[in-house]
Symmetry: C2
Subunit: 141 residues, 2 copies
DNA sequence: TATTGTTATACTCTATAACTATA
DNA sequence: TATAGTTATAGAGTATAACAATA
């Protein structure tokens, strides 16, 4: 069946394209983040802290080990971007909360990432409208 | 202008979606590659060696420092996947060339990456056809 | 003198295991 | 006994700088 061959060839092309887009997306992100003088992991944490978040939950969101969140929290506090605050209902839990400056950085960072993204620079309105549902489907669980 | 606001909101959504797709694509790749018992950087090198390639050129393709290619080449040789061969026209240059086994691994790896990709598992034929030109536009230079 | 690859070294990102305080 | 966070340590991935061989 040539059908199977054709589908395999298509999937080669697509997976290779998607991989290259992935590389470019990461490079874009790294470049923006560097202009903010932030390491990439710290910037990821800032963007994930729209709401005050228990450290454990942040680890889940970042898909990393909780011990790594300790290092991130230390770094965020050193930079004055976030603070560990107490959870009134469970004294084991520390809730990570952006400071005023952290929230401001987060807003500017999110805007810069969006503005500088390849998606914004390379796709017109129609393309972007077409892309969104496709990306959503790629994230379906 | 509300138009500007709407476009910014769209670009927030899209850049966040694209970032999450990026994370997923990398996780997919890492999972496939682990099933081949290869470190991710070695697998990337194997996939980049469709043609015998001078080490310097491979560094460019992988966007890494040439000294890192030395380590990759050592690892590839240890695994019997590639060999350094001489360039007849310039004795400074070493051309990295997949062995028979390396080429076989490369074929199986490319097929597994394509087959296991989120794109293949989540998108139907129509979606894939729509996605391809969008990804190509994202890679335009 | 400029370029290719190598070596030695150091830095960033991240996980594992053992620990402490609390539940 | 189980869970949240911490500490110490180790490992993967990668760059920088100095170097040897060749151009």
């Amino acid at each position: 069946m040539e059908d199977r061959e054709a589908r395999l060839a298509e999937s080669y092309r697509l997976s290779s394209l998607l991989w290259r887009v992935t590389q470019r997306t990461m490079a874009d992100f790294a470049a923006v983040v560097e202009s903010f003088d932030l390491p990439v992991p710290v910037a990821r944490a800032v963007l994930s802290l729209g709401e005050p978040t228990p450290m454990r939950e942040l680890a889940g969101r970042l898909r990393c080990d909780p011990s790594w969140v300790t290092s991130l929290a230390d770094d965020l506090e050193r930079r004055g971007l976030a603070e560990r605050t107490a959870d009134p209902s469970d004294r084991r839990v520390k809730v990570l909360r952006l400071t005023g400056e952290g929230a401001a950085v987060r807003d500017r960072l999110a805007e810069a990432v969006a503005r500088e993204s390849t998606v914004m620079r390379r796709l017109d309105g129609g393309d972007r409208t077409a892309l969104e549902p496709l990306l959503e489907r790629l994230l379906d669980d």
